[in-house]
């Protein structure tokens, strides 16, 4: 009976992987998502959310490229305005974006610091042996803006697209590679399964950890070796459970005659709509603008 419930679990997981976006709570998915926000998807309804994931993927790549093309104030203003517009359209609260920024504060300070002090050029101020140059300030500033925009830009994508949708888009975009014998569908499938399993394994970790703590295990105190040793009661059950789940999932897929991407249809095929065309147009205009601004002001 235990097997039964677990099998049902893995079926639900598989179904979740395949149905893709908007599949709603499958089994106790709702419960799990409460615990962990994976890929930090922010649930709301907006133009950006409804947009085809391919558009969002392409736009994100284009945006990242554009950040490296421009290297003057005007260019960054354009990039900033574009980003602000998209964020506004996405209806994701700005505080979610800011929250994501916290993880790179350290990197930002180091990168900006190096640029500030180690760029040769016209000296403005000197602290002890460190010289601040005009070029340094410029570089540090641009570097910081670039990093922040980069992270914000890509988090707009992950905040507005479910992981399933994202892999679907990727599969479709990489579709042409199939002719080069690249197993695109299989890769996308592996990605969506892997993504789907992250919250499950996190939850499992939490559960096992609690169970062992209830048996007096101590994961916090002690030196490094003792700490590493204390992980054994956590890792062994976790691995066993991961293998068990993988096994169940494979069985469930096989029972439904899953044979990879051959002649497979989708419940929700990706079809470009009018808004997607418009979005591509906007992105193109944005790119042209970025390049033009760079050329004119140079």
């Amino acid at each position: 009976m235990e097997e039964q419930s677990e099998e049902a679990d893995s079926l639900a997981i598989w179904a979740g992987c395949r149905v893709g976006a908007g599949s709603g709570p499958v089994g106790n998915e709702e419960n799990m998502l409460r615990e962990i926000t994976l890929g930090q998807y922010y649930q709301t309804d907006s133009v950006i959310h409804r947009m085809d994931p391919r558009v969002k993927l392409v736009t994100t790549v284009c945006y990242i490229i554009s950040l490296f093309i421009v290297d003057n104030i005007a260019g960054y203003v354009i990039a900033g305005v574009f980003l602000a517009l998209v964020i506004r359209l996405s209806r994701v609260p700005v505080k979610y974006m800011i929250r994501g920024m916290k993880s790179i504060v350290f990197l930002l300070i180091i990168a900006a610091g190096f640029n500030l002090f180690l760029t040769p050029g016209e000296t403005i101020a000197t602290f002890w042996k460190l010289k601040i140059t005009r070029e340094g300030i410029r570089l540090a500033l641009f570097m910081a803006i670039r990093l922040v925009f980069l992270l914000m830009g890509s988090s707009v994508m992950t905040l507005t697209t479910t992981p399933n949708n994202l892999t679907d888009g990727m599969e479709k975009l990489l579709g042409p590679l199939k002719h080069l014998k690249v197993p695109v569908h299989e890769i996308a499938m592996m990605m969506s399964i892997a993504l789907r399993f992250i919250p499950i394994l996190l939850e499992e970790t939490d559960k096992i950890m609690k169970a062992q703590i209830a048996r007096g295990a101590d994961f916090e105190s002690g030196n490094l070796i003792k700490k590493a040793k204390s992980l054994v009661p956590l890792l062994v059950p976790l691995f066993i459970s991961a293998f068990r789940r993988a096994n169940d999932l494979a069985m469930a897929m096989e029972a439904r005659c899953y044979r990879g991407g051959e002649h497979r249809t989708k419940m929700k095929p990706l079809i470009y709509k009018k808004r997607d065309g418009i979005a591509y147009g906007v992105v193109l205009i944005y790119l042209v603008l970025c390049v033009a601004v760079g050329k004119i002001l140079l």
Binding site: N31, K207, R215, S241
Partner: protein, 287 residues
């Protein structure tokens, strides 16, 4: 020995869009030697509640007291608490990790800092308490059957010799025989040691036979907290929240409706038999 929950509330994901109230103002007093059934539908907060009993979760508001001391005081010894309030999680066999059964059961007492001899004595006693035969002691726990694994896992907690034993759905996924075995073991254990036992379940049928107090949870709140027969009287309300009284309650209710004057406050088949016979006798054998 007493465990007190004083106006305990708990939220998951506090402060985010996915905030969810798991417990709402729960007050509870558990005294020594009680045999309690904690019942509720999936998501009613039972598992969250039991994790408060040994301090795994800290209430967002309210306090938990064990023997009069607030367990979330900064100088409170949580480790000792966890040895006194033994918590067996759902599917506890998933937490087995050692190479053989015996060392796995030793894990708990070893963590308490007991010496080797005492640890092994306790592990042996615990394995005997759950009724596992000696021949399995040095096998890999992963080679055992589902029911045996579960018993090993329960022994892992018993070896810490807790004063309160909390079991979260100890029969989930077991066949009827395995289920009865585990529950009978627990009941016997409780009779022998006099420890407090809290049995979490979503099945009235399971608990009704054993416990002498039932706590019904619904949407994070305590709905009923009374003797089984008192709780089953509210079988209509129980149905409304996705639970049910034991089948025997329904039979007695139906008999009464048909005109047989039986006592409907019945929790077991044996009691029902007596009650029906008594009613029949009163009717002079004619129905």
């Amino acid at each position: 020995m007493s465990l007190i929950l004083d106006h305990v509330s708990y939220l998951y994901e506090a402060g985010t869009a996915m905030e969810y109230t798991a417990l709402r103002d729960v007050c509870l007093k558990i005294s020594k030697g009680e045999f309690i059934g904690l019942i509720g539908h999936t998501g009613s907060g039972k598992s969250t509640l039991v994790q408060h009993l040994n301090g795994l979760l800290k209430p967002v508001s309210g306090n938990v007291y064990f023997n009069g001391a607030d367990i979330h005081d900064s100088d409170y010894n949580k480790k000792e608490l966890r040895s006194k309030v033994g918590l067996v999680f759902q599917y506890p066999e998933h937490q087995l990790f050692e190479a053989d059964v015996f060392s796995d059961v030793c894990f708990g007492p070893k963590n308490l800092g007991l010496d080797k001899k005492e640890t092994e004595l306790r592990a042996y006693a615990a394995l005997k308490q759950v009724g596992l035969e000696d021949e399995y002691f040095y096998q890999s726990p992963f080679d055992l059957s589902g029911g045996q694994k579960r018993r090993v896992a329960i022994a892992g907690v018993l070896a810490m010799q807790p004063e309160v034993l909390v079991l979260d759905e100890p029969t989930a996924g077991l066949d009827p025989k395995g289920r009865d075995e585990i529950l009978d073991r627990i009941a016997k254990l409780r009779d022998e040691t006099g420890m407090t036992v809290i049995l979490v379940s979503h099945s009235m049928e399971d608990v009704a036979r054993y416990v002498d107090r039932i706590i019904v949870m619904n949407k994070g709140q305590i709905m009923f907290d009374d003797k089984p027969r008192e709780v089953f009287r509210h079988y209509r309300e129980l149905e409304a929240v996705g639970l049910a009284a034991p089948q025997i309650t329904y039979i007695m209710q139906a008999l009464k409706k048909k005109g047989l004057d039986v006592d409907t406050d019945i929790t077991s088949v044996e009691e029902a038999k007596e009650a029906i016979l008594k009613a029949l006798k009163r009717n002079g054998g004619a129905v």
